[in-house]
């Protein structure tokens, strides 16, 4: 589980930048493309030592990035297609190499793919730590160090590559560095968790964090947290269901993402729905207040019945809710079936109608819009004009007392 957590955090850290740069699929691509690098490194060094594997991964990572870029730039292949072409071809080369030279050895493709945390060879230790844990810790530290040292550079080049160039450092270099880190991280995680978990951990925690916040530092921290949480949950679930740990961690992080999609305070689907609902309810309430005010204005003795008001508002359930809501809030009183503005309600309504008529006047006087075109926009914007804007409009209009329809603008 520690190994899993270390991997997840290492991936989640750099994943943020992939997601922000809209290069998420590069994670997938690189984690597949490094296969031939691993095989060649293995063949040359004759061992599965950490250093040759890292070197192989870094070289192939750079190569893949370079090929993808140049195919896109010089041969005009669409960027997604060029990525797809390069990494699948690399992978195919890797598969052939595996089959030809190292079959039956350490490189079991299926194992690379699915990962097998269970099989983490704990007997094989370096510096007192199990080997996979040791490698992933190294990668974690490297990633962390690079991020801390080059934080500003990463940040600027992720959000505005051209600005980075004008400020005098190469965003291309940062791009290649990032890709190298991705490749090395992917390799370090292979023997422990499998490539699919790497892909998931590169993208999903970062995307989750992206739903939850707007600041890069916070995003990176949340992303790492999500990575850790996923490893704990996944480990536990895999233990409980007795199944593949890496797979379960992937599922866990997927679930976390789904939760963020639904319940993120600012960007979640639920909160958006709630916000929309609250907004429409407020609009309905304010429309109702303004309507009652206008009825009173025409003839002080008249008032609307609840049914009339509901039909005028569009008679949906929101209208019904708006009426009962207003009565409870003390904006209107109900005598029998008649709706009456309370003192508080009348003053609120007066401000709304004032906003409406000021805006209408403004549109006619300053934008020269025809009379019969100003009601609709004013009707929509009246809900968003606050006291300060009312004063400004008033000053702008030299304290006119009548709107273009000849009605009084209330104080």
């Amino acid at each position: 589980m520690l190994t899993g957590a270390a991997t997840n955090v290492a991936c989640a850290l750099i994943g943020c930048f992939l997601v922000l740069r809209r290069m998420s699929m590069m994670g997938d691509a690189l984690s597949h493309a490094v296969l031939p690098g691993l095989v060649v490194a293995f063949l040359i060094s004759g061992s599965t030592g950490i250093l040759p594997l890292f070197l192989g991964a870094a070289v192939v990572g750079l190569l893949t990035t370079f090929l993808t870029q140049s195919l896109h730039q010089y041969a005009r292949v669409p960027s997604d297609a060029s990525m797809g072409v390069v990494f699948t071809t690399m992978f195919a080369i890797g598969v052939v190499l595996v089959k030809k030279y190292v079959s039956g050895l350490h490189f079991d493709i299926a194992c690379v793919y699915e990962g097998s945390l269970e099989l983490v060879p704990f007997a094989d230790t370096i510096a007192g730590l199990p080997r996979p844990l040791f490698t992933t810790l190294i990668v974690l530290i490297v990633n962390l160090a690079v991020l801390i040292v080059l934080w500003k550079e990463f940040k600027i080049s992720s959000f505005d590559g051209n600005l980075a160039t004008t400020m005098g450092f190469s965003s291309t270099a940062i791009h290649y560095l990032l890709m190298t880190l991705v490749a090395v991280t992917a390799v370090a995680s292979f023997e422990a968790v499998g490539s699919i978990l790497v892909v998931a951990m590169l993208i999903v925690p970062a995307a989750t964090a992206h739903l939850l916040c707007d600041r890069l530092a916070v995003m990176v921290a949340i992303s790492a947290g999500v990575g850790i949480a996923a490893s704990i949950l996944g480990y536990w679930a895999a233990y409980y269901f007795d199944t593949n740990i890496a797979g379960m961690m992937t599922v866990a992080v997927g679930v976390l993402y789904a939760l963020a999609v639904l319940f993120s305070p600012r960007y979640g689907i639920c909160s958006t729905l709630v916000r929309n609902f609250q907004m429409s309810l407020r609009v309905f309430r304010e429309d109702l207040l303004a309507m009652l005010y206008r009825v009173e204005e025409l003839d002080a003795s008249k008032s609307l019945t609840a049914t009339e008001a509901r039909i005028a508002l569009g008679s949906g359930w929101l209208a019904r809710l708006a009426i009962s809501n207003l009565i409870r809030a003390g904006g209107i009183g109900k005598e029998g079936d008649q709706l009456q503005l309370t003192v508080q309600g009348r003053s609120d309504a007066r401000q709304l109608v004032r906003s409406h008529r000021l805006w209408e006047t403004y549109l006619v006087e300053h934008l020269g819009m025809p009379l019969d075109h100003v009601h609709e926009p004013a009707n929509r914007i009246e809900h968003f004009i606050d006291e300060k804007l009312r004063q400004e409009l008033d000053a702008e209009l030299e304290e006119k007392s009548q709107d273009p329809h000849g009605r009084e603008i209330p104080e």
Partner: protein, 437 residues
Amino acid sequence: MIGLSLLLGLSLSNKVMIGTAMLGGMAGVVGSFAVLRGRSLVGDMLAHAALPGIGLAFLIMGSRSMLGLSIGALASGLLAIATVTVIVRWTRTKEDAAIGIVLSTFFGFGVVLLSIVQKPEIGGNKAGLDSYLFGEPGNMLTGDLYVLAVVGTLVLLAVGLLFKEFKLVCFDTDFAQSQGWPTLQLDLLMMASLALVTIVGLPIVGVILMAAMIILPAATARFWTNRLHLMLLLAAAFGVAAGPLGTYLGRGLPAGASIVLTAASFFVLSVLFAPRRGVVAKIVSEYQLRRRISHEHLLRSLYELSESELPTIPRLPLLSIHEHRHWNSLEKLLNLEVEAGTIERSEQTVKLTPLGLRRATELTKAHRLWEMYLVQFAGIAPDHVDRDADDIEHLLPESLVLQLEQQLANEGRLPLLIPEVPLSLHDLGTEKPSRES
């Protein structure tokens, strides 16, 4: 094709050849649309996302039949597409991340399911399921060939009937929508055919390599043509060729990988040697342009140096040409001009031939007319126009030169001191050597 194979007695290798050929052809056709729509990686996603469907289908049916597993795979593939659409539509996650998320989590879930299937108490026999991940053409059954044939026919039928509509949606979705076409449905139909092909191909070449089969033939075909129907035909042809050829060349190697490598070598060859978009063709045309530019610069320099003594054509010392402007390889340029008959040269001098003088006159005229145009109509200072004219003179067509001349003459601004060529607006002697290209 099926009939043919039956006649041949359906030996294993024949089956494999026919199957991979059919798959390659289909993948080429649907892949073309995917590549043009910027959805190359959707094939990759579908191939991964099919796994949980396969696991579930296996759990439910307890056996490996291609049809059953394919239905499961198709279902989870379609679910994956729907999920991506929902994520992109309703959250701030971008499409690339959405594809990655769906790909990895679906696949992770699939791995979990497979590891459950693997357990002895379920009694499952996982043999054959692995081939879904890594591909094993050798396992193909005759029944699988029929499935391939049916899917191929369906896809070709859809593409054939809806070619015009697909084309429209591919190149200009907004226009299609404004014309009242059901773009969403058409788009979904394209995706569904992609899904169908991906899923029948999975057990043959495996997950990653199926993604490659979608992209490679289409991307290869794109290098050869700008017309959609040709691209489809070419992509299908590349796919059909890659299947059997790869299987044949890669005996003893994993067949999926060798098919993909064959397709990849088609791609690399096209990148290098395709007639217009290929790298070699581009380098050649760039070289030719560069040579033409140097040639034109040389002739104009010779004109400028000879100008004071016209109409007699003077012999110019080589040194003066060197001083006039910077040259990268003057000797080579001069030799080419001699071959073209535009100059005569001795050891240390160069002289324009009458033919050379005429060419040089035209070039100088274009250059100076453009300079005048810039000065007169664009209000640029005379000492700033030389560079601009330097760049554009090579691209001015004759008609434009005539037009410029006419316009300047109409305005009475063409100083016809020498009937052919207006005098330079700036001091030629102080002209700074500019870069040759």
